[in-house]
């Protein structure tokens, strides 16, 4: 008997690791300062949102972690964080 699959809403954030020069972040910061805002420590990252099917939350997290390592982030230069939220049963 196949077990029920659950749907999870996933949100992944990928950031350059600390200590690496974030050229885009620096440029955004300069542009905001040029507009008169006193901004510092600006970083630019990427956000991914998608829905994934998995048996339980633990499996969903394991899959998302694997996706980040294999494709969404480059472990040499990136760090990533993610959230997994159950949205329904199918």
């Amino acid at each position: 008997m196949a077990s029920k699959m659950l749907s999870f809403k996933v949100r992944v954030e990928v950031w350059l690791k600390e200590g690496l020069v974030d050229a885009e972040g620096k440029t955004v910061e300069e542009a905001l300062n040029d507009l008169g805002y006193r901004v510092s420590s600006s970083r630019v990252g990427k956000v991914y949102e998608f829905v994934i099917k998995a048996g339980d939350e633990e499996e969903a997290k394991r899959l998302v972690n694997e996706m980040c390592t294999r494709l969404l982030a480059n472990p040499v230069k990136d760090k990533f964080i993610y959230e997994v939220k159950k949205i329904g049963v199918q």
Binding site: A23, E24, L72, N74, V76
Partner: protein, 233 residues
Amino acid sequence: MRFAVIQFPGSNCDYDVVYVLKNVLGVPTDLVWHKFFKGDVYDAVILPGGFSYGDYLRSGAIASHSPAMEEVKKIAEDGRPVLGICNGFQILIEAGLLPGALMPNDCLKFVCKWVTLKCETSGTAFTCMIPEGRLLHIPIAHREGRYFNTREELEKMRENRQIVFRYVDEKGEVNSKANPNGSVENIASVCNVKGNVVGLMPHPERASEKVLSPYKDCDGILLFKSMVRFLKS
């Protein structure tokens, strides 16, 4: 001897490489769509420049998961020559065949110009005809070419002689003025430990005929000639 140039959706320097191999060097070469690529019939493979998959995610990230790359990995393990040019270099890095990462240029602009490179090792399949210390004129054209690796990894790469070309000035000096994209230690090209897999940001196929170079030389052809000599030896 037979060569393959792999075409991904968004490759745009593929025909230039095929032209140089077939018409300038005179060696049999096939242009192969990535989904149909089988490595066993080829002596060497070249991943050309361009914008595979629109550079989505990170340059080269999606192409690095193409089934063609499993074949390329086998070729690399065999010791047969593999060259990645520009986006091809990005793909080899994302596939884990070469160390490090390529990030957006520090100036955040697409940089398209002729640069001077210094050959740091003749111990690769693509530089065996280029004396160490020799300067080459080859153009670059990229937005994500800032080579990066950690200090520990760079130390290992120096020990293994994996740095192939550096950006230098006309006198051959490594300095920040000669660095077009902010690459760590002015690195323009790296190889694997065996030296049969090489990736570089500059485009040797655009510098393989005198008529194309403002310097009236054709330094790029030396990489392709080296590959042929490597296979004959």
